[in-house]
Symmetry: C2
């Protein structure tokens, strides 16, 4: 590929979103261009990187399923059948753009953000017996999601590329076997091949609406990542913060004498940091009491130590309800007699279910809301001011330093970007379409499904996010837009360095080694070398009168910065396809 | 690929559209499934065929441009800038599916049916000087069109795959040079490689709104094709009927004596065949007079011999107006004094411009409408009943047997399917975006563009349409879902024929020869061999106890039906990757 043939050039500034490393570098390097919020054009270099990623992924997925290509336009009735048409927040629809178009065909379609609604009835058409299962099919294609806040360059867009695989099974065991022993190893192999293996962890995450089981996320360690991953040193288990079980970081004041409770006026002080400062106590002595209402109308008071937040999902599991949400201000006032922000566990009506987090155990002389507007109780003690709770639960959002209940060791936390996920769907979608198969006994039996996603454009963004330095990108060889970046330093294409460089280009190309050839002789040498660094191809080869007088070619490793002078022959030998 | 691993099976009946060979065969063969009108799912075998087509196309396009990947969601304002948002009949838009989605982001987007509106401003961003041109970029991706009548299986859909290439030039000459000397040869090479070379012609067609130049269509000869191609034997030029110039098939009655004109009542007779029968005259003696109104309000009478239709585009060119349309009934009555169907050239007001087609020349005693409801004039003669026209034009839709004006030879006509097209766009789109470049003289100069399309799913449909027999499909080797279809005839996978077949499969796969392996031992031999014919892989290899007792393998050429008995070694040698 000759750089002069590519219309898209490197630029000094990215059009937008310079706060995101991937957006900034990929735009400046001429890989992508932002068409509008959350929607990107992939330029020649970017299309190459994306193809490299998708081709490696295709090879791995071909081992565990058959490739298909499903339409983006889906019948609305299929999405209504699964109950998702009206409640998937990010769903877009396609409809006629103008009266002419509507006159021809005024139908509306769901625009695919995911494909359970297409693949389930499709497989149902062909698979009627347990003997037709298991089967698995995947595709790599564009998805559409009306993201509220597209951000972070190509990490979260309204239009993006994704590999989605779906598996179908005659039993739960078979579904779980495929999930653990087929899909996860294939994913691991893919991430290894594209250079993310060492920094990508398999992480337990919520099963979402789909499943009682945890899902698995593939999370790449990345300082700018959106997710917080919890891991106890020595443990094999990684948790997404949303589900990390935790025992509170110990805070013990058992040696203190109990002091008499007092109610202190502290007008308008709501944040725990401010409150602790105002009361001149440790944050750990403060208490947060939040009121929730369940789907059945039960009022729940969730009580955690001041520095914690309540994890609604954990609370929901402890309460055993279908759903819950923060109680509205009016309900809070009715129950506590106070405005929002002053709730406490003392003196709540019997109708309120109080759930104590383990972080609140073992404290003396603690603080809590007084259930009076602007007032806080201090020196509260179990047994004296309020009955000691019969049990404590884990209903908190885990924090760094909390103990992993399994190992008893304090968690370490790192930030990460999700690059893939795998879900057990059980019979959620097959039930919606009435998809059953005939079993060995001749009776109809349920079909179990799994779904497995990897956002390929997101993976490209994460690669840029984790592999760059102050000069530009550092692509792993497998997915780089080329293996070698050749820079002849010459005045004209008749000069020797140009001719020798061209020979090298042709010879490497013949061997299957992809090359960029910088034939932009009008540009300054400095800008051309800076471009090579910015574009980030693994090996740079410079040919000039000077290098030809020496051994021949200056070969630079983009990542290490190591420079060697090699003969043309050795330079050619130093890289392989 | 093991047939038992593919969820999609061959079926006895296609779900729909059995009248279309490609839809019927591709559905029954397990290549595609109709999700809804004009929208198809590509199953594992179909995805392979489509990938083969697209990969060959990619190789050819990489020689003449850089691959990019542009978004399907386009800013509505870009489509308004080119004036196409409100008048492209097939345009779809994307918008929030439900109130939740609208709350997040209520923007509407044009859903890409073509990409001039994205690529033009994109290239504009990077190319500012004549030295940045020429450049060309292409992509292969899904397009959306709200087709009024999706039909013919995957030949005309609402969602389909397409390769679209765009080129940008600093001069008209450069645009034309790329158009003729780069794009057309690349297309020709592609169609040759996928097996359509011998039956695909480069055809002159309308330049559409884009251009005064003809466009070129690549038309594959096919009995069920929608287009009619005109070709004079020995000529290099092929015309789409819509623009084929023609001289009428001669019909001469100069030897007749002139007879006196008569007006005959023939109530409600309008079609020329009925009229000729009623009047007991030859159809060639009848005359069709159609009234049109131009964009400036000029009334035009177009006069053609009875068996011809008026070609509005030719008429528009002769009149020299921007647009014209059939005059409404009220205007016709005002001008002729008669209902629609009885117009004739005699006695029209002077304000009406009368255009005579050459088919009306040289006749005596002809018929025409009498400009009186239900009446027809017969024995009309130039010079006697109406002044002889000073000139005749070509304003007719060409018919088989008409003369090619260039060679003077009668046209032959064949039906064909359009598989590609190339257009010169001139400055239509660059003007809309104000895209100019600095010339060598430092002044801004216009940018010339071309666009070049190939519908890859349509090409797949055409291949099915032209390559099949009564038993099923006949894929060319380059794009077949596999090169070899192996059928072991055995009771279990422990039997020798199965084991030997598997060895052959592995050995061929190692050589890069793609194979289907029919491991469905439960199915009858007859149904498995019928499936092999239906799927249409070029070579079938059967291994049974009987063939192993003989030389080893029964090798059948799917196209010729030739069967040979070969040793395992020779069978393996008989095919290459």
């Amino acid at each position: 590929m000759f750089l002069s043939h590519i219309f898209a050039k490197t630029t000094k500034e990215s059009s937008t979103d310079a706060s995101s490393a991937n957006a900034d570098l990929l735009e400046r390097g001429g890989f992508i261009h932002k068409t509008m919020a959350g929607v990107y054009s992939y330029l020649p270099l970017g299309t190459r990187v994306l193809s490299n990623i998708e081709n490696i992924l295709r090879e791995e997925m071909d081992k565990i399923g058959s490739e298909v290509f499903l339409p983006s336009l889906a019948p609305v009735e299929n999405w209504k059948k699964t109950g998702r048409y009206d409640n998937v927040n990010v769903l877009l629809k396609a409809s006629p753009a103008n009266p002419f178009s509507a006159k021809h065909n005024d139908a509306e379609y769901a625009l695919g953000s995911t494909h359970e609604e297409i693949i389930t009835p499709l497989v149902q058409r062909y698979c009627t017996s347990y003997q037709d299962l298991p089967c698995a099919a995947y595709q790599i294609q564009t998805k559409f999601r009306n993201e509220p806040r597209p951000k972070s360059g190509i990490l979260r867009g309204r239009e993006f590329r994704m590999k989605d695989l779906y598996s179908f099974h005659a039993s739960e065991e078979d579904m779980l076997d495929y999930f653990y022993n087929t899909s996860i190893p294939a994913y691991t192999s893919f991430f290894k091949r594209i250079g993310l293996g060492d920094i990508t962890e398999v992480v337990l995450a919520s099963g979402g609406d789909f499943s009682k089981e945890y899902s698995r996320e593939f999370q790449t360690r990345c300082e700018t990542g959106e997710d917080h991953i919890f891991h106890a040193p020595g443990s094999d288990t990684f948790y997404n913060r949303e589900i990390a079980p935790s025992k509170a970081k110990p805070w013990d004041n058992a040696a203190e004498e109990e002091r008499p409770r007092e109610d202190i006026v502290g007008e308008g002080i709501i944040g725990v940091e401010d409150l602790a400062a105002f009361l001149k106590i440790e944050v750990e002595r403060t208490t947060k009491t939040l009121l929730f209402e369940t789907d059945t109308g039960q009022m729940v008071a969730a009580v955690v130590r001041g520095e914690y937040d309540v994890n609604e999902e954990k609370l929901r599991t402890v309460v055993g309800c279908k759903s819950l949400h923060l109680a509205p201000a009016a309900s809070v006032k009715k129950v506590t007699g106070a405005e929002v922000g002053y709730a406490g566990p003392i003196g709540l009506p019997d109708s309120v279910l109080v759930i104590w987090d383990d972080s609140t155990a073992g404290r003396k002389n603690f603080e809590c809301g007084a259930n009076k507007t602007n007032e806080h109780s201090i020196n509260v003690n179990f047994g004296t001011d309020i009955p000691a709770p019969s049990e404590f639960h884990d209903i908190k959002v885990a924090r760094e330093g909390d103990l992993d209940p399994e190992t008893g060791k304090p968690y370490e936390v790192f930030r990460a970007c999700e690059v893939g996920n795998v879900f057990t769907l059980y019979t959620k979608f097959s039930d919606a379409f009435g998809f059953t198969v005939t079993g060995a006994d001749g009776k109809q039996q349920p079909v179990y499904m799994g779904c497995y996603g990897i956002g390929t454009t997101r993976v490209m963004g994460v690669l840029a996010e984790v592999f760059h330095d102050e000069h530009g990108l550092l692509w792993p060889a497998n997915i780089a837009p080329a293996r070698v970046h050749i820079v002849p330093i010459a005045k004209t294409s008749e000069d020797k360095p140009y001719k020798e460089a061209l020979k090298l280009y042709e010879s490497l190309s013949k061997k299957g080694v992809t090359c960029l050839f910088d034939d932009r002789l009008n540009a300054t040498v400095g800008s051309r070398l800076a471009d090579a660094d910015l574009i980030g191809v693994p090996t740079r080869m410079v040919l000039s009168a000077k290098t030809l007088d020496d051994k021949g070619v200056e070969v630079k490793d983009r990542k290490t910065g190591d420079v060697q002078m090699l003969s043309l022959k050795d330079a050619e030998k130093s890289v392989s396809a």
